[in-house]
Subunit: 338 residues, 4 copies
């Protein structure tokens, strides 16, 4: 098998720092802290040098949670995200924010940004008229659209509006591609490093960051789509894990009763290389990156390297956008309820 | 009755040059030409001095037509509007257009601009990549949103994008307020003078024009809403016209048979002032402007000076937006069919 | 002027019992009670005989309120409507309701019914599986569509579903035509007499009632559109009232200061027939019904008897549908919050 | 590995007869014919006995085509589908059709049925008024909704409406689950056997067929979603095919130049069992059904047996619904253009 593939081709489709971190967290220049707040796993990664993970220097905070179509989960995530945003924004009285919704409001899995912006409580026009109520900070919001519909590089629209209205910080919301099935629609990443080339679902190619705009850029992203290669590579790993789990527990009479409902991913199992190769052949000897390279090579020439989204996406994206817009409103304005 | 009302208050809500022209077309500096093309009345007004009608110097072309929910009418209006736009745009090969949809896509009667932009064939991103196909010109399009949702003066967004991408001309589409029931959803006005303060349905307050942007600005507007005062003032005039018509034709035995189906507005009738006062009292002695002042004074303090739209607006606005977007696409690109 | 017009022609377009009641409330067989609950005017009319108002025997409850785009007003109306529905429904444990949304979800002012149904908490499928949670009653809901889109008489769809699933009562939601500007989007009528021929905005022609279906039918209606004739006739009356008010208060130095902000409709003023005729001529001598006949005669032949809706209808209808769906859910199920 | 899994569990999610046919087409009682019409592969399967494929007796016609977001492909598929429908419907003058859109208009991948119904030209209400124009046949259409939103078994709504209006045939449109990546959004299946238990995306559990309704039922289905197990099982097969292809062609100097763009699936290659096991281990020894069982067993307990849809689904489903609604309109009514 030819493994000399240009690796960058499929790195192109993910943007979750956490995907890189876990295996490599012992690297120098990487601070890494995980807490569980209200059933939500909050991971703080701080990269002190741009080289550490081939990712930019800065803060990467990841919230991992269960299904937000559940009301209680939604409330918990909103509350945690509000706190995270307050901490990363650290706004003073004179702050002036611009919220930017990236993506295409006519494509459900790419509509997160526009949906969030539609619920932002904007106040800049009132500020200008000296009519800003107590408790509210100066805030504006735009949906710049996507290049396929405007003919304009999205970053050009953002840059020109920033130059004109001069906000003191930017919040950018985007849909992302996931590097694992587990994170799909169940992760929010917040970073102060902005949005980078090749990230996201669509063609948002120019960087939107402090370096290009001269003001802090907080990016909020949710993985809403996943590559077929990721689904397959994850599943191939699960095949082995399931096998290893069965091998260890199947002959143990005590475990028999609960067998069917056990989440074997939550058990720590040692990897047995010989078993894995017997089960999966040469494919079982590949590491994760090699496996994804192979899958890319297999699926791409026949046109089946689909990016897909769960069939319930309409409902999920609505809930996620509520969580994020409410968190932004709550973290910027002093409001008790909508 | 107190007639000393600030007249500008209700001038605020109309933008159809044709509304002013008809009674005053003998003024100096006003060229006025009307043709019927394919059942569509096309009125060309050219104002040579800014003072003539308190309107800006430039061309005002008005298309008046029947219901565009009919397929054939729609085709005719599209064809006529395409010709009008070609003539006013006079594009050369190096042209670069920006189409701007004013209005709120979440408010049906104000959604004309955004709906049109959604159907524009944009090509600027292909031009930049040197991938522009034969027959297509360079074109971009944006929906800047409304101030109530962005917190930003719409003209500021437009101005900043114009500065950044440097188009050679602008086309701006907007929903307007009508000064007569007859024109509602049955008129398209094209002008090369741009969009002006106080025009349109919402609060689009800063001028968008050659003077402010430095490039030609073609505005395309359709009256989709009408003030209650206009409905009442039109109807009060119709009461008299209906009366005068009946008086003249009722005793004429020949006319009896067709009486019910006659459109009395199409008959020229001399106004009899005494009859009018008998029928309508003091109200019948007011000229149009005085009557509207009175109605404004009556309806405003009690909160019933509603702006309204016909109940079929969802269907009509969809058809109007198709007419306008197809006409723009056809007049700029050399395309035979969609 | 010819006054011999078929009166039924324009009665066709209203369905608010309250419109008829106020002037005629001293009739035999009409019980009439008005209370103000939480700033909402609640009118209970009970017609004991079908002849009283040319309306059917039964209860007509009308809620009149201020703008529901305000959060607090919305909460109050929801709370009052919940109580009203509980009282009129008087459900026991074995009840099984079917909620029917009349109207067209693609036409904003006619979309109230479908929007309400989209938010109803249905449970019938869980009941059948024996999975109904405590506090919930058996409930189903359908949007039968409109005849122009289905080709089927709406009442036929309802009747056939009722026969099949056998609910013990029906709740029908519909958009109505208003007989006054004041009531537009600011009134909810609840009646136990069902929906009748010629009511509503569209062509929902067959009766939906206890008589036709054999189960109680509660109809909930909101006037969302209004005829041009109503706007004009209301305004002509306001012209006189404004004049009478000015005549009485203008020369009173004390009132001068507040003059501009006074709602003259709230003052009781005696009608002076001579004044009215001087002001409005022969038109001023017509009673309300005669005036509307005249306006119908004037506007209909020229095609301008538009039914219109306020330009903000998209926002208002969303809020009204929330009020009604929450009230239905709260009055049927024992739920504390959504 | 435990292979004793209840096979019916994952058969539940597919409904394309063609999926079963290809491998088993030599069975008795199966007539099978394939033609290529205008680049579209049309497969006619006729099952003469209910036992042949565990599928019902009747006609199964499958259209396989390329991307319908392309205008020309769309026109070709519409034309072919029109012909297929005309042949299977064989309508006489007195026919009366009811078109039923299954699925949920608020869930993009499940909205095919409702979208199609929205574009059907219904005429039944005109027929009843004796106003049916020449060239049009009697037709009605409903969107019964989904049980989760109505609380009512969908088949009960259909059955009750059929009983009431008595159509002479039914056309039912539904979104399906695909058994292969290749067929996703690129296949339309037409059958005269109706819709069966366990088919489709959602919970449409009762049969809708001649047997239950007493009139012919034509079902039109498009696979718009696919299980993760299918993606993985297809890909695992592709890994081997890609390997076999490379092995055969890599050392052939002539093939090197075109290597990257070759679709290896289109080459016939003999399967080498030893190679396959070396490459894929024990997994490589499983047949397709065993592999899917294994994957189901691996993904289900950890909650990752997602049903997914391509991220472009919003655009694709719109195009597919246009193809189907235009084909239905064209095959029933004698109309030249929309």
């Amino acid at each position: 098998m030819n493994k000399e593939i240009d690796l960058s081709k499929f790195q192109i489709r993910t943007d979750l720092a956490i995907d890189y971190v876990e295996e490599k967290s012992k690297l120098k220049g990487v601070k890494h802290k995980t807490e569980i707040i209200d059933n939500i796993k909050v991971t703080n990664v701080e990269l002190e040098s741009i080289n550490a993970l081939n990712k930019k220097k800065g803060k990467y905070i990841t919230l991992e949670f269960e299904d937000v179509t559940d009301y209680n989960n939604r409330e918990k995530v909103t509350s945690t995200l509000t706190t995270v945003l307050k901490n990363i924004l650290k706004l003073d009285k004179g702050s002036f924010g611009l919220v930017v919704g990236l993506g295409n409001d006519k494509s459900t899995p790419d509509s997160l940004g526009p949906l969030v912006v539609n619920n932002i409580i904007v106040t800049n026009h009132l500020y200008i008229l000296n009519e800003l109520s107590d408790g509210y900070k100066r805030l504006a919001a735009i949906n710049p659209g996507v290049m396929g519909e405007t003919g304009i590089e999205t970053s050009d629209i953002i840059e020109s509006v920033v130059k004109k209205i001069k906000p003191s910080y930017l919040i950018v919301i985007d849909s992302l591609a996931s590097k694992s099935i587990e994170r799909l629609n169940k992760t929010i990443q917040i970073t102060d490093t902005g949005i980078h080339p090749g990230s996201g679902i669509g063609n948002k190619r120019k960087e939107i960051s402090y370096e290009t705009l001269g003001i802090p850029v907080i990016a909020i992203g949710v993985p809403t789509v996943v590559d077929a290669t990721v689904i397959v590579s994850d599943t191939i790993n699960f095949i082995y894990k399931n096998y290893a789990f069965n091998k260890e527990y199947m002959n143990n009479p005590k475990s028999k009763l609960t067998f069917n409902n056990v989440n074997y991913l939550k058990k720590e199992l040692k990897e047995n290389k010989k078993d894995k190769q017997e089960l999966l052949g040469l494919v079982g000897t590949l590491d994760e990156q090699e496996l994804q390279m192979l899958l890319y090579e297999v699926l791409n020439p026949i046109g089946y390297n689909l990016m897909v989204t769960p069939k319930e996406i309409d409902f999920v994206i609505q809930m996620l956008s509520n969580v994020i817009s409410n968190s932004i409103n709550n973290s910027i304005h002093d409001i008790d309820k909508k």
